[in-house]
Amino acid sequence: MIKINQLEKHFDSKQVLQGVDLEVPSGTVLGLLGQNGCGKTTLIKCLLGLLRPTGGTASILGDDAWNLSADTKSRLGYVPQEVVSYPWMRVRQVIAYTAAFYPSWNGPFVDELCRRWQLPLEDRVGPLSVGQLQTLGIVLAMGHEPDLLVLDEPVASLDPSARRQFLRTLLEIVDQPNRTVLFSTHITSDLERVANRVAIMREGKIAFHGELDSLKERVKRLHIASRQELPRSFAVLGALRCEVEGTAATVSVDDFDESLVDEMRTTWDAEVTVHDLNLEEIFVEMHNQ
């Protein structure tokens, strides 16, 4: 569905994307995580042909991102971070206006979404709250039932119950075969519910890309309590983070397996306890190296 190869983008002297590689097969729900300013939005905009890359390639359904065909565009849905709209129109009119662009517009589905999310159809768009505007943006992006839905922090302004409703709707959509979703967010708990793959961006590159489950199975924090003073040279190969204090050490690893624990028990004459980390903790570990 998506192929990104050594993608680069700089603004004047600022290098934002520094060789991004990412491949997303169809049927995937990919969560894109990264600190503020690491390039998530730039990546999404390059992928959708809204920004011209300075190097490398990006393609959707085999189409080059900068020259997307009308057919490919009709199969895309995009919710930008800030929804652009027409403040003078009523909600109902914006929906009708957008629907006119798409032959495959699903009117009953859109009506259902508006009802579910209590969008005030007769109100003008201008005075809508940020959350309502974001909801409207989501409805507009989903109305033509796109094969690829790209959401850039779609839920930042939604309250918890609206977010949950949005996630349920997203899950209904991905329950149909070959629907692909790419969404960036800071809310890791949302991502843990709906994403089956995660890409973590760091300094303009993809630092990790893979299954969410395998990420959780591989990244662990180990607490080591030795019966002897641990040497200053204490180290674990490939550790994300390592802290030693007297007879105790805390180590985070990203390639955990049981044999590592046995090895540590014997090497350091120590009790080793293994802690599972959730996505937020993993994210923090990866950024505290």
């Binding site: 729900v29 949950r164 996630l167 349920r168 899950l171 209904e172 991905v174 329950d175 890791t188 708990s189 843990e192 519910r193 709906v194 994403a195 089956n196 969410l212 489950d213 959780k216 199975e217 049981e258 009790e271 802690h275 599972d276 980390l277 959730n278 996505l279 937020e280 903790e281």
Partner: protein, 135 residues
């Protein structure tokens, strides 16, 4: 069956992957007798909707349970709980059990229980199990 509430409690923000939580909970329900041979697991779609998690994750858990011989896919019906003890050879099952027990024994050590005291706890657990099975 379909109106029964979902028996799973899922914590998406746990360090334990959701599919693992589901697998573990099915084992716990079986051990506790809340899920018995011949019963159907709730459908993938129902679990996914009720818990607001990705249906692929629920499918993954169910497939794993199927490969471990705990449930069987019955066409047009769903996942049916099979007869217990049917799965895998003895060595594999013992190995699985050993991995499950190992942390418990480390805990005993940390609590300062010696070998005899640890054995006593294990014995009493086995005794309780005997009582519930042959009342």
């Amino acid at each position: 069956m379909s109106s029964k509430p979902i028996p799973f409690e899922i914590h998406p923000s746990s360090g334990v992957p959701i599919y693992r939580q589901l697998v573990d909970q099915v084992y716990a329900l079986l051990a506790g007798g809340q899920l018995a041979e011949g019963e159907l697991l709730p459908s993938v779609r129902r679990v996914a909707q009720a818990a607001a998690v990705n249906p692929m994750t629920v499918s993954k858990a169910y497939s794993l349970l199927e490969s471990q011989g705990v449930v069987q896919r019955v066409r047009g019906q769903g996942m049916r709980v099979t007869k217990p003890q049917a799965a895998g050879n003895l060595e594999e099952r013992e190995d699985q059990f050993r991995r499950f027990l190992e942390p418990a024994f480390h805990r005993a050590q940390q609590l300062g229980l010696d070998e005899a005291e640890t054995r006593q706890v294990v014995e009493s657990l086995l005794q309780e199990l005997r009582k519930t099975q042959n009342p």
